[in-house]
Amino acid sequence: MKISKLSAMRQGGAILSRIFKEAKALAAPGLSLLDIEHFFDGEIEKSGAKSSFKTVRNYPFSTCINLNEGIVHGLPNQTKLKKGDFISLDAGLIWQDYHVDMSYSWYLGPPLDPKFIKAGKEALQKAIAQAHPGNHVGHLSQAIEETISSAGYRPSLHLTGHAIGHSLHEHPFLPCILKEKISQTPLFREGDTLAVEVIYTKSRQDGLVQAPDGWTLSTPDAKISGLFEQTIYLHAKQAEILTPFLW
């Protein structure tokens, strides 16, 4: 039976949030990144959903796990987690032909730098508050850029959020930096589904370093990097968060 986009993505988001919560609780010193990936993959299959990231060309896993200086697209490998690591977990799934996507960053053990994490969460909240019909993508970019920059960190130049739906990456893309006039950026419409992502680093440079695996992107000066993301649905007046984990 075919169900509406909103209810399909609501259900998908709820499943993803639940698995995400369990995976976050599971992550402990001594566990390898691959263990978390296997857990996630298994849970996605058990729930009857399909892996979303495997639809990306040549990407073999269901999650991206970035440690410390890793910004995005971290391939899960044999590296063991240790206390004090900064992890960004990024995962998605397909439910009833619709993709949902979310990510979250945290310190393993006591948070070493709560200000860094707070800046990311705050930026995401402000960005989502800007996402409603009538506003432009630029309003969202501006909210992220201002929040992150005023906290003393650097939003990512080339890595962006994206619209989401029948495929994982759809237009328009949602940059973390405002590069042009707000009025020239695309308009939000009612019914849009977006994966709003805040990607920011402590690095002082914009460059990205690609690891030999061809995927993992890191900061050039090995400074830590954070990642927060929610999938949202735009109603007539405001946005609804479809992946309500930890909010």
Binding site: S52, F53, V56, Y59, C64, V72, H73, D90, G92, D101, L157, H158, L159, T160, G161, H162, L168, H169, F173, P175, E197, I199, L208, L217, L227, E229
Partner: protein, 71 residues
């Protein structure tokens, strides 16, 4: 998953110079594309001639590029 919109950089060789600082470049992977000279190279009057090894940033459609380095 985050969308990576950073321009793709690739090496190539100039095979033909065209008017208006436009060049035909043969890329490492064998494709031939049109590329123009990046602003920094124009400002510093970097001469680029047939046979030069250059670095090209590709457009999202990957049919055009801008030459960012002659090396």
């Amino acid at each position: 998953m985050v969308k990576d919109n950073s321009p793709k950089k690739i090496q190539g060789t100039i095979i033909e110079t065209l008017p208006n600082l436009l060049f035909k470049v043969k890329l490492e992977d064998g494709r031939e594309i049109l590329a123009h000279l990046a602003g920094k190279l124009r400002i510093h009057r970097i001469r680029v001639i047939t046979g030069d090894l250059v670095t090209v940033e590709l457009s999202p459609q990957e049919d055009r590029g801008r030459i960012t380095y002659r090396g």
